[in-house]
């Protein structure tokens, strides 16, 4: 049986709110699996060249800023915390708190992207961006350039996902503030959360694999 509070939010092709929620969750996970395969391909390519040009990758990684990378890791983990709290508030039907936590998550996302933009600008300045202007004083410069290709493609695609997530969070924060979600209808917040946490997990792997090579040498 549908409860009156949720009937309005159940699309006509679903039996009830629970089925609709399961379908939304399934859809998001299937999408995340395809995202996993996308990044999995990049990680596999990285593994291949890393094992082939180990020394050059270590040399290249040393030019990345551990402090900024570590800070961004903490920022993103913090955003996952606020995201989890947003879903929790949504489960409890606390609309205002949900909106607040979604907003906090999007702000942390912007902090991450700002730090990333600063790092990118610095890399342009240091001529470490692959292409015509790339300059690196080492016999292994070509392989170092390859590392930076991986760096920009992987962190770039990751950042793109954060930008998309940021827009979704803002839209949902506005919806939460207007009381669109309730105890019986919070699947949009929950699936947005799954997406955001997934993007966090990608960074959890990117950070050590890009920033922390050859530090013990």
């Amino acid at each position: 049986m549908r409860s009156d509070a949720t009937a309005d939010n159940v699309a006509h092709h679903f039996v009830d709110a629970a089925q609709q929620r399961d379908a939304a969750t399934l859809g998001m996970w299937v999408f995340l699996v395809s995202e996993l395969m996308f990044f999995g391909g990049l990680f596999t390519g990285y593994a291949y060249y890393r094992s082939t040009y180990d020394a050059a990758f270590a040399e290249a990684s040393a030019r990345l800023d551990i402090l900024l990378g570590g800070l961004n890791t903490a920022v993103l983990l913090g955003s996952s915390l606020t995201m989890a709290l947003a879903v929790r508030s949504a489960q409890l039907g606390e609309s205002r708190n949900t909106a607040r936590m979604l907003l906090a998550t999007s702000v942390l996302g912007i902090v991450f992207l700002s730090v990333k933009a600063f790092e990118y600008a610095h890399k342009f300045h240091e001529h470490l961006v692959p292409g015509g202007t790339f300059r690196f004083n080492s016999p292994r410069a070509d392989q170092v350039e390859l590392f930076y290709s991986f760096y920009f493609v992987m962190t770039g695609f990751h950042a793109l996902r954060l930008v998309i997530g940021f827009v979704i969070l803002l839209l949902f924060a506005a919806r939460a503030a207007r009381g669109h979600f309730s105890k019986g209808y919070y699947a949009p917040v929950e699936t947005a959360g799954l997406y955001w946490h997934f993007v966090d997990i990608i960074w959890i792997f990117l950070f050590p694999l890009l920033y922390l090579l050859g530090r013990h040498a």
Binding site: T25, W29, M37, G40, G41, D200, P208, R215
Partner: protein
């Protein structure tokens, strides 16, 4: 459909653990473990991911259809990475 609500305290503890593991992965990178630096980094990253998956994404509370999709994804990704690495290891350099 009963929604299981995790306590704020649990979320904070998990967040603290994630920060500690981040410090651990940075610390381990500065210690020379020979061939084991990368495996150590990956093990720590896997541990962090597991915390996020279990506590933040509530993995393990999905229905059967979701579990099957996830299993398929994990299987394909493992195949991709394991076979590629097996090829790298077994390749004869001329």
């Amino acid at each position: 459909m009963t929604a299981h609500v995790t306590s704020v305290k649990t979320y904070l503890v998990v967040f603290g653990a994630l920060l500690l593991l981040t410090l651990a992965t940075i610390g381990v990178a500065y210690v020379d473990l020979g061939a084991f630096n990368t495996p150590a980094a990956i093990v720590i990253a896997a541990a962090k991911s597991t915390l996020v998956l279990v506590f933040f994404m509530h993995l393990g509370r999905e229905d059967r259809a979701t579990a099957i999709s996830l299993g398929a994804g994990a299987f394909l990704l493992t195949t991709l990475i394991v076979l590629t690495i097996a090829d790298i290891i077994a390749r004869i350099t001329v």
